[in-house]
């Protein structure tokens, strides 16, 4: 049956209305998330108690993420050296494998992969923890006792994430470069002197290491922000928490990859 003109108009208006409502929803969520970030960055009064909470979060988010970061760094470095060797050997440039491993890891793999792993390990845990605190009314209980959950719960976690991820990135890079040396030098027989000397000659402190750390700081803010906001915003049901945890990993991963392109373009002067 052919739809009447009136029905077509109805579908179009409904479609436009739905797009408009979704756009408004997205704007409202961004607004709330922005305000949430501003409030969470506020450290609060005093030093001693907030510092001990921060130290606990650094342990919780950073130290407990070390195994996955170190093992991943080692294997990423090993694979890069292996792949790099087989490409470079065709051009007789296999001695440059150290340089290739170091630059790839310091500029890209370190900040990006450590942020993705951090989102999966620590980000999801943060969302689930805060979501469950909400579902069991622990956050409300805190508010009723006159304790601001932003300062007591959100702020130490946000600052903990901002401190941990750049450090985890550096450790990822160190293990990655060491993993590359294991494969290139010990397995493939590249001269150890050229592996390290080529690397030393090509890696710049500001251009490669500092820029990698800057990326990592940006990723840390974004990943931790998304994780704690999703927990705060989760529906207080088992399905709500499960959905928020998934959203954290998906949104944080996409944000890291998208921002990586923007930051790389800005740092290379592409814009």
């Amino acid at each position: 049956m052919k739809p009447s003109k009136l029905m077509v108009h109805h579908y179009i208006i409904n479609g436009v209305r739905r797009i408009g409502m979704n756009a408004l929803d997205i704007c409202a969520t961004f607004g709330r998330a922005g305000w949430f970030l501003v409030q969470s960055l506020n450290w609060g009064k005093g030093f001693k108690a907030p510092l001990s909470r921060l130290v606990y979060q650094v342990y919780n988010l950073g130290v407990l993420s070390l195994p996955i970061i170190l093992v991943s760094g080692l294997f990423v470095g090993m694979v890069l050296a292996l792949q790099g060797y087989h490409i470079l050997v065709d051009y007789g440039s296999q001695e440059a494998v150290g340089q290739m491993v170091a630059l790839s890891i310091l500029r890209e793999f370190g900040p990006v992969v450590s942020a993705l792993l951090f989102a999966g390990r620590a980000g999801s845990a943060l969302t689930a923890e805060i979501g469950l605190m909400k579902a069991t009314e622990q956050l409300s209980a805190m508010e009723i006792m006159g304790v601001d959950p932003f300062k007591r719960i959100m702020s130490p976690r946000l600052w903990g994430g901002i401190i941990c991820l750049p450090l985890l990135n550096l450790m990822f890079c160190v293990l990655g470069i060491y993993g590359g040396a294991l494969v290139a030098v010990d397995m493939l027989g590249i001269y150890e002197g050229s592996y390290w000397a080529n690397m030393q000659g090509s890696v710049e402190f500001y251009g490669d290491i500092v820029k990698g750390v800057i990326k990592s700081v940006v990723f840390a803010v974004v990943v931790t922000w998304i994780a704690i906001f999703q927990g705060w915003n989760a529906l207080p049901t088992s399905m709500g928490i499960s959905r928020a945890t998934t959203q954290t990993v998906v949104q944080a991963s996409l944000a890291v990859l998208g921002l990586d392109f923007v930051l790389t373009a800005v740092m290379l002067g592409g814009f």
Binding site: Q138, S140, E143, V147, D148
Partner: protein
């Protein structure tokens, strides 16, 4: 004595549904006031309005003569130090021991030395009969014990106003008896103002000085427990005596069965 909490012509909607329609009530200082009503009448929502977690669409909510919806975030947190709420679930912090749960507000709001915090916490745990359970985790407590720990936690800062959200729900008769005794004793010994939200009629009436009964967003009756028992209003009688059908319908609004099933 005056009133600790005053609600004047309060209306509140949630998701388009009218929860309160122009209700007014007063909670006198130093008394136990019960808010009764069937499930879903917004009794817990009323506590949300008093604590400032929710804002009314119209009307005034005054606590200690301060207009709660108009307070700044900081002023609201200051006011909340003088009030406490016993949640239906207890809402204990699951990663802290019983002792740390009770000490939480003291650590957050005071600079007391550790030995003094210890003594105060032990005294409060003694009040609820759980001094020996200080090192247990919330997961190791029974429902009744968890609620008593939450009660100890809610009185640790000596509040002026304490609110109980369905304190008897899911409790065995012994735990109910203990809670009834505790609520009355704490109100007297600590000179508190208590607001008890419940649908456990007998327990609530046995310890209340004044009672409000809510239904369909309105106060349908108020007065002393004795006066309510003598009230002949059909809706009130249905609620007080637990009659299955009456003005509060057993059926949720729906199309006629014949129309829905046989159509």
């Amino acid at each position: 004595m005056g009133n600790c909490v005053v609600l004047k012509n309060v209306s509140f909607r949630r998701d388009g549904r009218l929860i309160f329609d122009d209700i007014s009530l007063n909670i006198p200082k130093g008394k136990v006031t019960s808010i009764l009503g069937p499930s879903g009448t917004g009794k817990t929502t009323l506590l949300g309005l008093i604590t400032g977690q929710l804002k009314p669409d119209s009307g005034e909510v005054l606590v200690n003569n301060l207009s709660v919806p108009d307070l700044s975030r900081q002023a609201l947190f200051e006011l909340r130090k003088k009030m406490s709420l016993l949640f239906q679930s207890g809402a204990l912090f699951t990663d802290m021991t019983v002792f740390e749960n009770v000490a939480f507000a003291l650590r957050e709001h005071t600079q007391l030395p550790e030995h003094m915090i210890r003594d105060l916490v032990l005294l409060r745990l003694e009040n609820v009969g759980l001094r020996g359970a200080g090192q247990l985790m919330p997961s190791q407590l029974s429902g009744g014990m968890a609620r008593r720990v939450a009660l100890a936690r809610s009185i640790i800062l000596d509040p002026d106003l304490i609110m109980y959200d369905e304190p008897f729900t899911g409790q065995d008769p012994v735990s109910k008896g203990i809670l009834v005794k505790l609520i009355r004793a704490l109100n007297k010994n600590l000179s508190l103002t208590s607001v008890l939200v419940s649908h456990d009629v007998e327990e609530a009436l046995s310890i209340s000085d004044h009672v409000y009964v809510l239904s369909h967003g309105q106060v349908i009756a108020s007065g002393t427990p004795e006066a309510l028992r003598e009230n002949t209003g059909s809706e009130l009688q249905q609620f007080l005596f637990g009659l299955p059908d009456g003005p509060v319908s057993f059926h949720f609004p729906a199309k006629p069965l014949s129309e829905e099933v046989l159509a």
